[in-house]
Symmetry: C2
Subunit: 374 residues, 2 copies
Amino acid sequence: MSFLDQISEPTLLLNEAIARANIGRMAEKAKRHKVRLRPHFKTHQSRQAGEWFREEGITAITVSSVKMAQYFARHGWQDITVAFPLNRRQLPQITELAQQITLHLTVTSADDVAFLREHLAAPVHLWVKADTGYGRTGIKTEDTVVLEAVLAELKQTPQHTFSGFLAHAGHSYKARSHESIAAIHQETLTKMRGLKERYSSTWPKLQLSIGDTPSCSTMEDFSGIDEIRPGNFVFYDLTQNLISSCRLEDIAVALACPVVALHPDRHEVILYGGAVHFSKDALQQPDGAVIFGLVVPLTESGWGEPLPETALVSLSQEHGIVRTTPELFSQFEIGGLMGVLPVHSCLTADLMKGYVTLEGKQLEHLSGVTQRHS
Amino acid sequence: MSFLDQISEPTLLLNEAIARANIGRMAEKAKRHKVRLRPHFKTHQSRQAGEWFREEGITAITVSSVKMAQYFARHGWQDITVAFPLNRRQLPQITELAQQITLHLTVTSADDVAFLREHLAAPVHLWVKADTGYGRTGIKTEDTVVLEAVLAELKQTPQHTFSGFLAHAGHSYKARSHESIAAIHQETLTKMRGLKERYSSTWPKLQLSIGDTPSCSTMEDFSGIDEIRPGNFVFYDLTQNLISSCRLEDIAVALACPVVALHPDRHEVILYGGAVHFSKDALQQPDGAVIFGLVVPLTESGWGEPLPETALVSLSQEHGIVRTTPELFSQFEIGGLMGVLPVHSCLTADLMKGYVTLEGKQLEHLSGVTQRHS
């Protein structure tokens, strides 16, 4: 009996071999460029997947919440960067973590530094968030007045270590070609290296950390950079494929969904699999249409290539609508299972709360382990 | 000390008084129109919120998954409709439930009926899903050939009770005025009553069940209808407000989010609160811009009116960006909390996995109780 026979509701399948290959490739690239790979664990949020990184020699990681830092600290990770603006309301949790592990925090203002000097006794490493053009948060690299105010506060905060500048060129997610990723990456490199040049006489140990999956996956110039923090690359997804960060065959997760109804008149297939499984993140196709996933046939050894002219075109809370061609419609049968490659694997994994590998192993995800209000 | 002082990470606040008023109003309306209110519990998915319905005399409920049916059956609900196309892969779970409670299932084809005749020994009630124009799933009411094939199978399936036709006019969610809801509702009524007229000589006990929140909230004609199944009305949200199903003051949930960074140059505020808390469901505003929530000040007794010209304009995994006016920008401070009214309360509640009432009570949500792979 195939492991597929055991699946009765939407289930996130994880091809461990693909994920391990993705990790191995990035680890090798980091070694080749002599940068530290501090992978972002927000995509998998799984202690078991974390071990695959450890086997590649990874000892330092990135997370995007204090809760995630607590989880991975419980599972033996001793060097963690919270790459999210300091949340002052979590000072007690931060203090506890700082007493247990080597904790790195992200500050976005001089006031953040002053707050930590006054309120956090346990020593931490501080990274100043630099905005190299994404425009979400951080200090613009050209805003020397604000930057120098932060550095002045850091000088007065000897109990914490100023590690350097941390950037996330998240605008690379809007890129749709190698050339546009390259342009964003070069701008980030230029701006970050500029910071090092400007401030390294005062702070000789100042480091630079960057970390979006598109740039880390496709670029080959990391000179001057000390650390990279990509996350999504462990699984990739359709967004990364559209950006040209990965091939379709590098996508390591697919959602297995039961087929519950067929509409032969419009070649539509209703899946048990909706917004609470996939997330509502959508991908605009070149023709302007929006899709929520591509459909792949499931086999005992994983999944095949996406079916042509077939996509998940609509999601409600628990339903998904797949539209296909008259020719392919007959591949679907009520009671059967179909695979769907997700648009955004981070959000899909968070919703699914766990994984099943092709070998039938169950892996946990933080969102299935703890309750937010426990 | 206010209960707000206890909040250190994104927390879904629930104003119990508003939710109870929403329930009371719908229960009163159902009584007035002599229809059975079988509320859809997919929005709250909470045993505690379920009790508020019981206090209004509700004994029969609707859910959208077998898992939800199992959860509410465990908490004493004895009459449950799974308003989702039959998922044959969950036959063992369905069988177990059918042995415990009065279970109603939704079928979308003659083949579904034959399957249940052959494979489900425990008796259930069957509803034939009718498509009155939404176009998601179900049999089009004018498709008499298919309908009669289903009815013929039902005649041969005496162990299960044919209850009637069930519709969900989900296209009312695209409505943006009372008039357009009315047009959709009238079409649904006409089509559903037509089914009753056509088939009640053969099936004199045949019932009609409809159930979208916009129609049930705003319409006053339910003649010929036996049952309504609205769900979202317990909390409402910004989508329902835009549809004109509710007033802003009827929205019973708001997400409390810590402020973690300020960008005075662009009047943007960074919240700890992102796609994994809100969902990526967005609302297109009349001016074409997309928003993910409206911002409300939090007080000890709940929240105030939305701040003008202020909205959650962007979400990444854990970050939210609020854009406001130069005048209102000073209301935000790092380390403070802001409230956000969600675009789609069902998805936000599913992601948040639980609630805190204004009295500080913690209420559970099914997604925080069980793991999908437990």
